[in-house]
Subunit: 202 residues, 2 copies
């Protein structure tokens, strides 16, 4: 029986989206099996047909967030000024609109829990290594284009940019509003200006 009324994968995605809505609205601690089922308009029993345990559900939801962000970053046009390219990639991670803000809130909630929950260590490690790769690529992009300030260590700069972006995200989440979005962009902009100044000032 191959054809189905609703594909199992889309059902799982719907449930993950229900998780996101709850995490964004009330926090991770409200993402109980019952609440998620109600949010998705399903019964508890149905939910458990797709996800046997709660951590399976939550893990799936987080993984999906990562995939969506990665997809948007891959979609960035990589031609032209590499400083602008890197800037656009980072913008896809910042909580500048409702969608991205939701993704960041989910990320933060899971991150905070992953510090003490050994179950989440594997997933957390995976996300961390993907992000490290992403920032390493960005720095190499600047270096290959000859835009990176000379004398900087690429490995250190990747880690520094990664930490800065995570900090900026955190602050933008904690200080909601248009002003903090401008601050976030200004901070990232200032950093990029420092590590990859315009050719005239290099």
């Amino acid at each position: 029986m191959v054809p189905k009324l609703v594909d199992a994968q889309t059902r799982r995605t719907e449930l993950a989206e229900a998780v996101w809505r709850i995490v964004m609205r009330d926090g991770l601690e409200q993402a109980s099996v019952r609440n998620v089922a109600r949010e998705a308009g399903l019964s508890m029993g149905s939910l458990r047909h797709y996800f046997t345990t709660q951590s399976e559900l939550l893990g799936f939801a987080l993984r999906l967030v990562g995939e969506r962000i990665e997809e948007r970053i891959r979609a960035v046009d990589t031609t032209g000024d590499q400083r602008a390219v890197v800037r656009s990639m980072i913008d896809e991670m910042l909580p500048l609109d409702r969608t991205r803000r939701g993704e960041c809130e989910v990320w933060l909630a899971f991150t905070a829990r992953a510090v003490v929950e050994p179950t989440m260590a594997g997933l957390r490690k995976e996300i961390d290594s993907r992000l490290t790769d992403a920032f390493t690529t960005m720095i190499r992009r600047l270096a290959d284009a000859g835009a990176l300030r000379p004398g900087l260590d690429q490995k250190v700069e990747a880690e520094r940019l990664y930490a800065l972006v995570d900090g900026v995200i955190l602050h933008a989440l904690l200080r909601p509003g248009r002003t903090s979005n401008a601050t976030a962009e200004a901070t990232v902009g200032a950093h990029l200006d420092q590590i990859a100044p315009a050719a005239s000032e290099r």
Copy 2:
């Protein structure tokens, strides 16, 4: 009846320390009234004599963390090379040993919850403004000593340093071990070298 066997304030501090131990060991979601009381060796009823509600207890615990960190920063010797002074101040915030790691874990757990919990908004805002002040002071310290790289905006640099340190803390928490401590210190060091280079390379 002024004299007491155990001062009420020290009792409250003991309870706050019990909260920290639980948050560090099992996460904020395990810091229930019962668990905290058991950890402190008190009954539920006794705990409720010192803290009527749970959020009162948790708020007190977080505030105490902030006070201890501030105290250590105030204790830093501010004479001599201002780059080293700023470096020492930041070191007091990083999770480089058990004590500081615990403080950072408590900070992160509360931070993550504060994003969605309106009750915590006030406390969160207060902490944020104190930290903003702290980093603003550090940048001014460098500027007054003539160590800050010329052409940098002090306000932007304060925010950038603040974000970087928060990101570094986050990464150090998520990647436990001696290696990540070295990475954290190297990242902060590289940043300070960039915004306040040694006189010879300025």
